[in-house]
């Protein structure tokens, strides 16, 4: 894995209907960091991820991946270093088998088929679903689909993993399993989520977004325990940091 940074410099983006989704955000994420991007609905988190991956191009500002400024000419090259897992795994899994979905990326890179096979097996092993490789994606449970979607980007051997709401619609056991998988990755991780307990568990650093701007950027525990800040952003402190719901006692 090459040492590099992921940087957003003064990013602006407005949708065609005029909604200013990202409004001058800047950040710099270092190699190996796990960064949670949190905020209320409509804060601009998903738009920011789309700007980072080049799905959308910023109206102003620049995205820099590994010292290279993202533009249309180098997008294909830069995207090899980014692995984005979409919020809805059904958007990502469209082949007839899990194997073919995981092989889709490496095959597009024109890698030899034996190597593609190695990558597929390795990616599926990393997320613990090698036994599902010949199953059809639509037959999988939500947790298995999520794991398959993550495997489909791991097979590209990205330096940076970008995950949009990875624990949404997962049952507690699948969520815990996914967190264990994510915790085991050494990649740079950029995670947007409303699951603040997961963010607290996985991420060392948190960026809080409100109205397309970053209103806080700092160590996860410090940010997530700041009740005033959380309320300002339309959020609540993680449940694990809140007081006892029965006796009302403060968390110690």
């Amino acid at each position: 894995m090459s040492h590099h940074i992921t940087e957003g410099k003064d990013l602006f983006y407005a949708y065609p209907d005029g909604h200013q989704a990202v409004n001058g955000i800047s950040f710099r994420i270092h190699h190996g960091e796990s960064v949670g991007i949190i905020g209320a609905n409509g804060a601009g988190k998903s738009t920011l991820l789309m700007l980072l991956t080049g799905i959308l191009m910023p109206a102003n500002g620049e995205v820099i991946i590994g010292e290279v400024r993202l533009n249309k000419d180098n997008m294909a090259m830069i995207r090899q270093r980014l692995g984005m897992v979409f919020q809805n795994p059904d958007d990502q899994l469209f082949m007839t088998t899990v194997h073919d979905d995981v092989a889709f990326g490496p095959r597009n890179l024109k890698i030899d088929e034996p190597q593609v096979e190695q990558r597929v097996v390795s990616a599926l092993e990393q997320v613990g679903i090698l036994h599902l490789k010949d199953r059809a994606p639509f037959h999988l449970s939500a947790g298995e689909k999520r794991a398959a979607a993550i495997a489909s980007v791991l097979s590209l051997m990205p330096d940076i993993l970008i995950l949009d709401e990875p624990t949404s619609s997962l049952d507690p056991k699948s969520r815990r399993r996914l967190m264990k998988i994510l915790g085991g990755f050494e990649h740079t991780k950029i995670i947007t989520s409303h699951d603040l307990d997961m963010v607290l568990d996985i991420c060392q650093r948190v960026i809080v977004m409100k109205d397309g701007q970053a209103i806080a950027d700092g160590p996860a525990k410090g940010v997530l325990t700041n009740k005033v800040l959380m309320e300002e952003a339309g959020l609540e402190m993680p449940l694990s940091l809140q007081g006892c719901p029965v006796c009302g006692g403060e968390k110690t």
Binding site: M50, T53, I55, A76, R79, Q80, L82, G83, M84, F86, N88, D90, D91, Q92, F94, M95, T96, T97, D100, A103, F104, G105, R107, N108, L109, K110, E113, V116, D134, A136, F138, S152, V153, L156
Partner: protein, 269 residues
Amino acid sequence: MSNIVNAMYNIRQFDELARRDSLIHRMHPLAKLLATLVYTVLLVSYDKYATIALLPFVFFPVYVAAAAKIPLEPLLKRLLYIEPMIVGIGLLNPLFDHGTVVVLGYAISSGWLIFLSIFLKGTLAVTSALLLIATTGMDGVALSLRKLMVPKIFVLQMMLTYRYISVLLEEAARTVQAYDLRAFSSQRLKREVWGPLLGQILIRTMDRAQRIYDAMCLRGFSGEYCIGKAARPGWKDIIYVMTWGVLSAAFRGINLPLWLGNLLTGAGK
């Protein structure tokens, strides 16, 4: 609603059938495609009055379905969807062609004979195409088409259309379900909601298709649908193509039912 869900199930059922393991499934996709192509070309090359001579062509789909253990029900269901089109194409002949032809000593309306010929040819050709998909899968068919130098843009179009059908059906099922749950008074879709619902389905499908396309681009998709590489065809595959090529040509060259009839009745002596 249940019709849409059934349609989704049917599409996926063929994908699942293609993942089974059998003698036919293990054949190289190119061999299956070539055998089906040769069979279909020879089948449709008969003159417009051919009916009884077509009967030996039943062997190919029957053999493939039996050897691949393809259940009849999904196959016949799909065939039933297509049959109205085949009947529609053939049905004009009895209306406009009032001539007569003599078959086995009986005078028969030539229009109806042409209709029967079109019906048989259409049914057999569609059945063999369905069996090709049920034993090879769309990916395998696409791979074979590329091997036959079919331009990648056509193969891509075919594959994306096939994928888009599932996306369209999923979004249609969700939209109709949302309507059903709140349309307490009526079971059927009211005419006045057809427009808004269709518009909703179209917009949602396009959004979904865009997200899928984004996901594809993020994984290096650049206009070519890379399906992987199948192993080189082996001698079994060559024998398969040759056998069905020779048999189809023999069926085409020799009127087997007539020959058998003559043999049994001694009419040819």
